[in-house]
Every structure is written in C-alpha cells, then in structure tokens.
C-alpha cells in the first residue's frame, strides 16, 4: 500500500539482476520452485481460479483486466479442448519486461503456466514468443525439455495424473500479433489480422475452441499468488490491484533498467530515486508512462502512483509500467515522429481509418519536424486522430491516436514553433 520506500525490492518477480540468469531447474527448485505448483495441484481447479481472482491479479500485458475474471468466462465443459496461450509477443515500444522472464528466469513463468493450465483444465499450452527473441526461444525450449525430463510435463504433472504439453511458437515480426485475436490468427498460420469481437476467445478462440490468453508477467504473478496466498499477494499491491510489479525505466535517465516494487509506486520514486534522475539533471519535458501508446505526461505528474486506476485518473494509462523519460533539450515532435512512424508501419491494413489515418499522422508529423509544416497542421493532426479512435476492430488505432492527441495538446507551442520557423528549433534534421 505504501510507496515501498526508496529502495526497490527484489526477489518476488525479479530474481536476477542485469547479466544474471536462473536457467537450471534444480536451482529453481532450491529457491522454492514448484511449491506453488504442488499447492495448486492439491486443490480442485475451481479453487485455484478463485484464489487467482481473490489475489486481484490484473493482466500485466497492459490492459489490466483481472485474470481470474477472464478465466471465469470459459464456458462449462462442452467436450471441446481448451487452450492456454501465453502472449510473449512483447512489442509495445519502450517495454522490455517479458524478455527478462523469457531469457533470464523462465521457470517462474513456466511454473505459472503449469498452475494456470491446471486451473482452467487446458491440456495444451502455446507460448507465442516474439520472433526477434531467438535466444529466448532457445531458452524456453530447453527449459520445457528439462521440465518434461523432471516429470513436470507429460502424462502427469509432479505426480498428479494430468496430461499437459507446452509448446513454443515463434512470431515473425508483426507488432499487431500482440493483440490477442491477431495472435490467434497468427498461431493458426495466417496473417495476423484481429478478429471481430464478440465472440471472445474464452468461448471461440484457437481453432474455434475455448482459449485463455495471458501475458508472461501475469503467469509469474499466478505463481506468486499461489505461493504466498491470495491475501498476502493482494496486500503487496493496491486494493483490487494486487502484487508486486515489474517497472521499466528508459530514455534520458541515469540508471535505466528494470525495477521491482509494490504495485503503485510513484513516477518520482521510479525516475528520481531508483533511476537516479535525468541525465545532466536536466528538467523533465515528458514522461511516457507505459509504452508508446499511453498518453504522455509531464513533471507535474511525478507524484502519481503507477497503478491501473491512478494512471487512468491522471489522464493516461499504466500500460506496461515502462516509463520513458525525455528532457527539455529533446524535440517532442521528433519523439512523436518515431511513435507515429511505428504505428503506421504496424497497422495491419484491415480497417480504413487505421490503415489510412496512421499514414496521415506520420506524414504530417514528419512534415512539421522537417520544417515543412503548415498553419493548421495541429488541428489536422487532432482531427485525423479523432477519426481513428473508436472506429477500428482492434486497439491499434487508438494506440496510434492517443500519443498524437496527447503530444499535440501538451507540446502545442513546440509544434507551432516548428511550423512558424520552418525548421526544428532543437536542431534535428
């Protein structure tokens, strides 16, 4: 509940520092590994679901939807196989937490997967890993083979009769596949174009079967909730938003990297205390709090707690809790240009407002940054962005529009200065 003091905690979610790794199954066992799994296997599956619901684990992929509630959407057993799919397609720019679990500490992730598969009675799990994570894919495949040899996978799980198989499926370089229904299309071997919803994957998912899709960090949280109990896990975070959290910090700060703390540390704690403040102690100009799709904030938001509800109340989103900081000597138009370029490149092309709109946004921002902006461009940007929001099948359109709206509103004077001067006042070319 508190800010957690000035020292980041380590050990719940982040067991390894930079350059360290726990890749030995026996080492994981000596560190309390599989205790949570054994607890879960001794419980009836619905009791495990209830425990996860009570722990208040909100989905760590960015949307913050309660994991236990999502699991509750599965229809009653109707004979169709059920699938658990892990979204390890970490691609939201400025986000780099799931890669940690995949490359440096795969066993808590896999133990969480085993527990979750038991809870929802899925006999087959696919981990959809971003294609660029070649090392991570090799690491996971080896860890899964080790689990099978040690009796944690196969016809029984740790001695309990329960047939379970876990497979790694590689992505191939499309950001949109992080959207859960596009991910399913991709897993089925198709282009990753999001599906219309409803039906939701819990009822009609992979190959038309009931499917639960959860994020990597969410799986590590499931393990912790079973290990410590739902109440203790919930108490580590905020009311209704339980547990410890992995925070990312990047950009123009002294000590970028991953940090662990209770859910709800303030931006100030993360940036100033843990991150050591900005490079050259320059004033903060902007903070992107949780991946590039989350609206940009400023120095007046430093005391906002980083949890799902507080960030929303402040006009942004927690997203992936990966704060990116830039200082007063950085051109905000240039930052927005990188963001706009990304979403224009990654739009899957299915919905016209997103396919065309993201291109307009990129071209207008590019023109402004390169001194070719025209009076009225800020209005044009805002109006084009508003024509995208709410008018597309998936959230990529919103993700492209929110940063444009927030950058233009927050840094309006910088945009107008570029247009009036016919060049970037920060000297960008």
């Amino acid at each position: 509940m508190s800010d957690g003091g000035k020292t980041p905690s380590r050990g719940h979610l982040l067991r390894c520092g930079p350059g360290e790794a726990i890749l030995d199954l026996r080492l994981h066992e000596t560190m309390g590994g599989f205790q949570a799994l054994r607890k879960a296997l001794a419980m009836d599956p619905p009791r495990v679901v209830e425990e996860v619901r009570k722990a208040g684990i909100r989905g760590r992929g960015g949307a913050g939807f309660p994991a236990g509630v999502k699991w509750g959407f599965l229809p009653k057993d109707d004979g169709r196989p059920r699938y658990l799919v892990i979204n390890a397609d970490e691609g939201e720019p400025c986000t780099f937490k799931d890669r940690y679990f995949i490359e440096q500490d795969p066993f808590p992730l896999l133990e969480g997967i085993l527990i979750s598969a038991w809870a929802i009675q899925a006999h087959r799990v696919y981990i959809y890993v971003r294609g660029e994570f070649q090392k991570g894919i090799r690491t996971l495949e080896k860890a899964i083979a080790d689990l099978r040899r040690a009796g944690y996978l196969g016809r029984t799980v740790a001695g309990r009769p329960f047939a379970l198989d876990v497979f790694v499926h590689p992505g191939a370089g499309a950001y949109i596949c992080g959207e859960e229904s596009a991910l399913l299309e991709s897993l089925e071997g198709k282009a990753g174009r999001p599906r219309n919803k409803p039906p939701f994957p819990a009822s009609v998912g992979l190959w038309g079967c009931p499917t639960i899709i959860n994020n990597v960090e969410t799986m590590a949280c499931v393990r912790l909730a079973l290990l410590h109990g739902a109440e203790a896990f919930l108490a580590m975070g905020r009311p209704g938003d339980g547990g410890p959290k992995v925070y990312g910090l990047s950009g123009q700060v002294k000590r970028p990297g991953l940090y662990e703390g209770p859910m709800g540390v303030t931006l100030r704690t993360l940036i100033m205390d843990w991150g050591g403040g900005t490079l050259g102690d320059r004033p903060i100009k902007g903070i992107i709090p949780g991946g590039t799709s989350t609206p940009v904030l400023g120095p007046e938001h430093l005391d906002v707690p980083m949890d799902f509800d507080s960030m929303k109340a402040a006009g942004s989103m927690l997203g992936t809790a990966a704060a990116t900081v830039f200082t007063d000597d950085t051109c905000p138009v240039g930052v927005l240009l990188r963001i706009a370029r990304f979403y224009a490149h990654e739009s899957c092309g299915q919905c016209t407002p997103c396919r065309d709109g993201t291109g307009w946004l990129e071209r207008i921002v590019e023109a402004i940054e390169h001194g070719e902006g025209r009076p009225g461009d800020c209005e044009r940007l805002l109006s084009a962005a508003r024509m995208i929001t709410g008018n597309t099948i998936c959230a990529l359109g919103d993700a492209a529009a929110f940063p444009v709206i927030s950058f233009v509103n927050r840094f309006r004077q910088d945009f107008e200065d570029h247009i009036a001067a016919h060049r970037c006042p920060f000297g960008a070319v």
């Binding site: 994570f133 070649q134 499926h169 499309a174």
Partner: protein
C-alpha cells in the same frame, strides 16, 4: 533443381508438424525452416512449403508476405538491425545508424558488395533499458557506442575471413 530439406531440417519439420492439431498452424515455423535451409523465401521455396504442408500456394504467400521476419529476398551474411524507436532514439540511435551507413558504405535496405553485411533500421527490440541496441542475425548487442560498433564490425569481418588468410576485403 527441385528444392529439398536436408536430413536435419527434415527431422525438425516432422517435430514442428507434430506440435499442432492443424497443418496450417505449422506454416510459420516451417517457413522459418525453409528460410534457414534455402537462404530466403524464394517463390520456389514457398511452393516447396505449400507442397510439404499440402496447403494452397496462395495461402502460403498470403502468410509469408504479412511478416517482416520471413525474408522474401537475400540479406547479407551478417544482417544488422538497428533499433530506431523512441527509447533508442533518446540514447543516440540515429547517430549509430549513420555511423554504420558510413562504415559499411551502404544505406538501410542494401547489402555490401562482398555480401557480408546488410543494414536495416527496425522497431523496438525490447532492449530499452540498455539502449541503443542492435541485433546481428537476431543476436543482441546492447548499450552500443560508435567504438563498440567498430569493434563488432572488425570481429565479424575476421570471423568471415578464410582461415589463415586476410580479411576478404577492406
């Protein structure tokens, strides 16, 4: 000449297909195998994959064309991908990419005449805590500086040089 998987690739093929209750689900993993075996996904390679998975060629092409990592053309032996997204931009990625362009004498999208290097600016590689970052054949190099890039290029050239001989070109 008809394309064919090597014995080892064939073993991987059988293993991959067994993971899924549906043949098309194996398509992306199998396209990776074909990419590795044949260098890139030529029209012939895609026809081969279609035949092996018993899928219509149009379906194979439709999937292959959607994904940037499924290569439709040749790259250099060392494919260098520099992240140009926000977190790396804020830590000097633009300068790093320009330095590589000068050093290799190519622009993004091109291959050096000796076929050793190709260069590309790519989107966020999830290495933001240690920016700027790049990948060489999908292997990470993080916290890069111009000096570190120079050392890396020298090492890759030495790696490519025939045993006991001089570097292929300078």
């Amino acid at each position: 000449m008809a394309l064919e998987f090597s014995a080892e690739r064939e073993r991987e093929f059988q293993e991959v297909v067994a993971r899924y209750p549906d043949r098309q689900a194996a398509l992306i993993p199998v396209l990776y195998l074909a990419d590795r075996e044949f260098g890139f996904l030529s029209p012939e390679a895609m026809e081969y994959v279609a035949r092996r998975l018993d899928l219509p060629l149009t379906r194979v092409v439709n999937t292959a064309s959607f994904y940037t990592m499924l290569r439709k053309r040749q790259t250099g032996r060392f494919h260098i991908q520099v992240c140009v997204n926000v977190a790396c931009h804020l830590r000097g990625a633009d300068g790093l990419l320009r330095h590589l362009e000068r050093r290799l004498g190519i622009s993004p999208g091109e291959i050096t005449p000796d076929g050793l290097f190709s260069l590309e600016g790519v989107q966020c590689l999830a290495a933001c805590g240690n920016a700027p970052a790049l990948q060489v054949n999908y292997e990470y190099h993080e916290g890069m500086t111009e000096e570190a890039v120079d050392r890396l290029i020298d090492r890759l050239r030495a790696e490519a040089a025939p045993k006991g001989g001089e570097a292929t070109r300078e």
